[in-house]
């Protein structure tokens, strides 16, 4: 049988020890691990940056790349477990 008091005590002690920095680091590390699991096994190839002198001008109503890239990823379509 599970000892719920013991479980609660362990959680309280763990939370008590956390600083803002340690908790933030753990959370970001956990999210990174989850994202890497989502990507799956394999090597990630680093892309080379290529610079060019060609300029692009946007019309008044166009959307800038910055605006496009700032859209957060939507993971809502992934369903629940397993």
């Amino acid at each position: 049988m599970l000892d719920l008091k013991k479980l609660e005590q362990k959680l309280d002690e763990a939370l008590e020890k956390e600083t803002s920095e340690s908790l933030r680091n753990w959370l970001l590390s956990n999210k990174r691990k989850n994202f890497e699991n989502y990507l799956g096994d394999g090597l990630i190839e680093e892309m080379n940056h290529v610079s060019s002198k060609i300029g692009i001008s946007f019309s008044k109503n166009s959307v800038s790349n910055k605006e496009k890239d700032s859209t957060p990823p939507n993971y809502d379509f992934y369903k629940s477990a397993a």
């Binding site: 049988m1 599970l2 000892d3 609660e8 959680l11 763990a14 477990a81 397993a82």
Partner: protein, 169 residues
């Protein structure tokens, strides 16, 4: 003496060889963290096969006996449910206050396992509600719980065997 044994169902895409053991789910959106996921209801396991195990066009349903003595049962055990709810909300408030980030339920469960070291918890049973009225026999109320179990300790699974397979619709 209470019987903690449950027969539950594990869904996977059909592979070239049948499985001897369930496959661990490490998906980023797995509610209850990394573990071996089972369904309580065979029909939910079948629905999951049709909807989410389509990679090889066929899916398989495995059945196993689970020893739930050290499972946190948030579905049928009121004490466990109230305990789990309290711990989840306590941890979530702590995360939000200290980091400004609202955690996911997976973050919270990962934290329970990794930082609070809840080694003695062999699994967590949880429910949501089905979202497809086709599987319900009455209209307008999702009366039927969709119950899942995540197993962290594979030692509580026995007699794991293939039950059936089918082609994805």
């Amino acid at each position: 003496m209470e019987d903690f044994q449950r027969k539950m169902f594990h869904t996977q895409e059909k592979r070239r060889i049948n499985l001897d053991n369930p496959i661990e789910c490490i998906r980023a959106d797995a509610w209850l963290g990394d573990g071996f996921y089972f369904w309580d209801d065979e029909q939910d396991a079948i629905n999951w096969g049709h909807n989410s195990k389509r990679r090889t066009e066929y899916f398989q349903i495995y059945v196993g006996n689970i020893d739930c003595e050290n499972v946190l049962d948030t579905v049928f055990n009121e004490e466990h449910y109230r305990f789990w709810l309290k711990q989840v909300e306590k941890a979530a408030k702590h995360f939000l206050r200290k980091t400004g980030i609202k955690p996911s339920i997976k973050d919270i469960n990962d934290y329970f396992q990794e930082r609070a070291i809840w080694n003695e918890v062999d699994g967590i049973m949880f429910q949501d509600l089905p979202k497809n009225e086709d599987f319900l026999l009455v209209r307008a109320l999702y009366y039927k719980k969709r119950i899942q179990l995540v197993v962290y300790n594979l030692g509580i699974v026995s007699n794991f065997d293939l039950l059936k397979e089918d082609k994805c619709l």
